[in-house]
Symmetry: D2
Amino acid sequence: MKYQTAITKIEDEREFVRGYSLEELTTKKSFVETVYLVLRGELPTAAETRLLNALLTAAIDHGPGTASGQVARIVASAQNSPHTALAAGILAMGERHGGAIEGAARFFQENKETGHIAGLVQSLKEQKIRLPGYGHAVLTHDGRSDVLLGVAKETGFYGPHCALAEKIGAVLNQISSKPIPLNIDGAMAAILLDMGFDWRLTKGFFIIARVPGLVAHIYEEMAGGEGLRRVPEEEIEYSGPEPRAL
Amino acid sequence: MKYQTAITKIEDEREFVRGYSLEELTTKKSFVETVYLVLRGELPTAAETRLLNALLTAAIDHGPGTASGQVARIVASAQNSPHTALAAGILAMGERHGGAIEGAARFFQENKETGHIAGLVQSLKEQKIRLPGYGHAVLTHDGRSDVLLGVAKETGFYGPHCALAEKIGAVLNQISSKPIPLNIDGAMAAILLDMGFDWRLTKGFFIIARVPGLVAHIYEEMAGGEGLRRVPEEEIEYSGPEPRAL
Amino acid sequence: MKYQTAITKIEDEREFVRGYSLEELTTKKSFVETVYLVLRGELPTAAETRLLNALLTAAIDHGPGTASGQVARIVASAQNSPHTALAAGILAMGERHGGAIEGAARFFQENKETGHIAGLVQSLKEQKIRLPGYGHAVLTHDGRSDVLLGVAKETGFYGPHCALAEKIGAVLNQISSKPIPLNIDGAMAAILLDMGFDWRLTKGFFIIARVPGLVAHIYEEMAGGEGLRRVPEEEIEYSGPEPRAL
Amino acid sequence: MKYQTAITKIEDEREFVRGYSLEELTTKKSFVETVYLVLRGELPTAAETRLLNALLTAAIDHGPGTASGQVARIVASAQNSPHTALAAGILAMGERHGGAIEGAARFFQENKETGHIAGLVQSLKEQKIRLPGYGHAVLTHDGRSDVLLGVAKETGFYGPHCALAEKIGAVLNQISSKPIPLNIDGAMAAILLDMGFDWRLTKGFFIIARVPGLVAHIYEEMAGGEGLRRVPEEEIEYSGPEPRAL
């Protein structure tokens, strides 16, 4: 048997996602409920649906200047198909762009039982280990985190991981010279753990959320007709050997 | 100015998507409403939200055997990061997999005014030009199309493009020896046009819909721990020159 | 049978490429000879080896400012694996970046028999159809083309496609207000056709040539440790709706 | 300054790679010499050229059944552009496919000074840590490694890393129940280190070597006209919940 799957069954030309008829889901459930179903195996409660909606909405776009946005637009500008430009944009989501959600989730899960948070954070700082899920290249305070934690509280999913994430943030701000806010990656990570998701699935939610934003940027680039994007020569500094004979 | 965008504004550390505060959207609007907003520029009505939910849900997954599903799982099996496996899966969405939505939308838009559909279809058949949006590798009738057209009617968005798509399907079934159903690509294409979207944006909706399914397959592959997938030697037939001396 | 292939046979733990033992090839043939073998099915003559070396060398790099170079570096800067950054860079090689070689090769192949080149070019100009393989974003004359055509002459492979390419270039320069040089894409296309390669394989040579350059840029980016690249806010102009209430 | 680079300088419409005129390189140097130059910064000696030719040739292809070969062909079968299919194939080169070269190189570099190899290997075995660069999914002995180490000896580049790699292999074969050969990844890793390359650049050489093989498979797939590849339903086993009502 080549593939074993518990996700979708196709039988007599009908599809069942996690046991539910896809045709029924199409008319009776929202897309976000089905996203939860496909990833979790069961349908969400109303509270879970509300919270997942908030998580996905909060990360839908962050402008053309992010690594994924810029890459998607450059690849689209070279006149590629939209799915090619989108895939390239997603490839930019490495450790330093969206990847923090995975790292933060792993860290929270592994340190949930820790009694002495201040000591833990201090020791990481001394080893110069940067905590994923904290700090932001542009923002000094990440309002999106507060909003998400608010919805988590309201829906009853503010649990031990969210509490840990905020305690760590408070310690970090005490011992650092500049603000290191709990960012959207960190907040999403903590909330997804408190919803019961595995840390290895957390980055997937970030990507699902951001794909529509990237599609919008690709379409804007295609419609704009700017031509091929390239770095102007005056923004490139050559520091290698001067012209020499063979 | 390097990038001009009408999608997202970042100002004083706050984000505005198409003019609306992202923090407000996060608490007050659903993800699908914000998907519509980011792609269209305006918030949807309740009818538009319902129809977009149906469109996205219908395409959320089609099992591990599709080109994108298989590719995403093979790349995950080589122990790549999830975003890398997802991007590879999306790259499989070429002309023959998901690409038909774009082709169908373009065809419907260009032939909306045509009076003589039977003649048009007959002439394409004689030139052996395959109409995108019709036929299915596995299904002889695509129930998902009926369901989507049903929701389109119910929400008042069954318009000239949907009517054209169904008329073409009827003609095709009359003149062909085997069933060539209006498939989900064709139905999505017609409905998105009747909702007012440009044909160049239609494939983006298919991708947005399928990404959560692919993420589920990647996670299942990672959790399953099958090891690296490769084609067994007995499924490869060598037809080149026999061993020869240099 | 899942895959039929005439490229490589694996038998009793030994590999044969196009019939030749890979172990023998490794000690007795150069990489470029084996590249020719794997793509063409037969080993090259000395003249073919020399010409292919020239073609691949000429396209090895064009700096970090090309679409592929920039994308590869941005994706590497997000701390992705090198193969991920490379794949993203390759995705940037769309119609407008490296893609011209395919378009030019197709055009030359289809118009090889044309007697009246001036009329053909004039008519394309009137229809505002841009000929692939001519013109350059930065260069007004593409010295790399002359060098390649020189090696083609020297090795006896300057044939009807090269002659056609140069005649078209001369006509274009006569009827245009600014220089539209035969660029490296156009020269590579013509030479590869005169070597007997199919136009559908031509872009593959460009990619094979450029991959080492991209690998060098990715390594330079990783070693440089610049951190995540993003577009500074002052290079982004927002042109959408002003902040508005929900 | 946006990009600093020591690779290529473009000046007065002429290109210089590591200081050498690209036009001169094109006529006077082989592609493999220029590959060495672009990655190392200096031109290779004849011995280095010979050894690099052997390394690249040995890895040029391994059939359509590898993860990268299969993915490239599936993506091509969905009627994508060749560069898109190639990028997808490269994405399959994760930890478990080609990735071992990097892991092996890192391990050899870090343990070069170790006096007690048997103890080191025994301790890894007890911790069930699998050594990258040893073992093969199909082969019980990897003849390609012997050939490469032979060329390394002949060219004078068999140094401390190659010796270490072979000693580890001998210990592994002593203490294991089944053969765990030094594979091509391990041999390439050791040789590249003895040539003076950084471990972080080693995987790049594998990719450069394999790209022409993948291009050949993509072209074969495109020419073959098999239609879209998908997993037949009988090779998929569904293990999820049975059909259930919403």
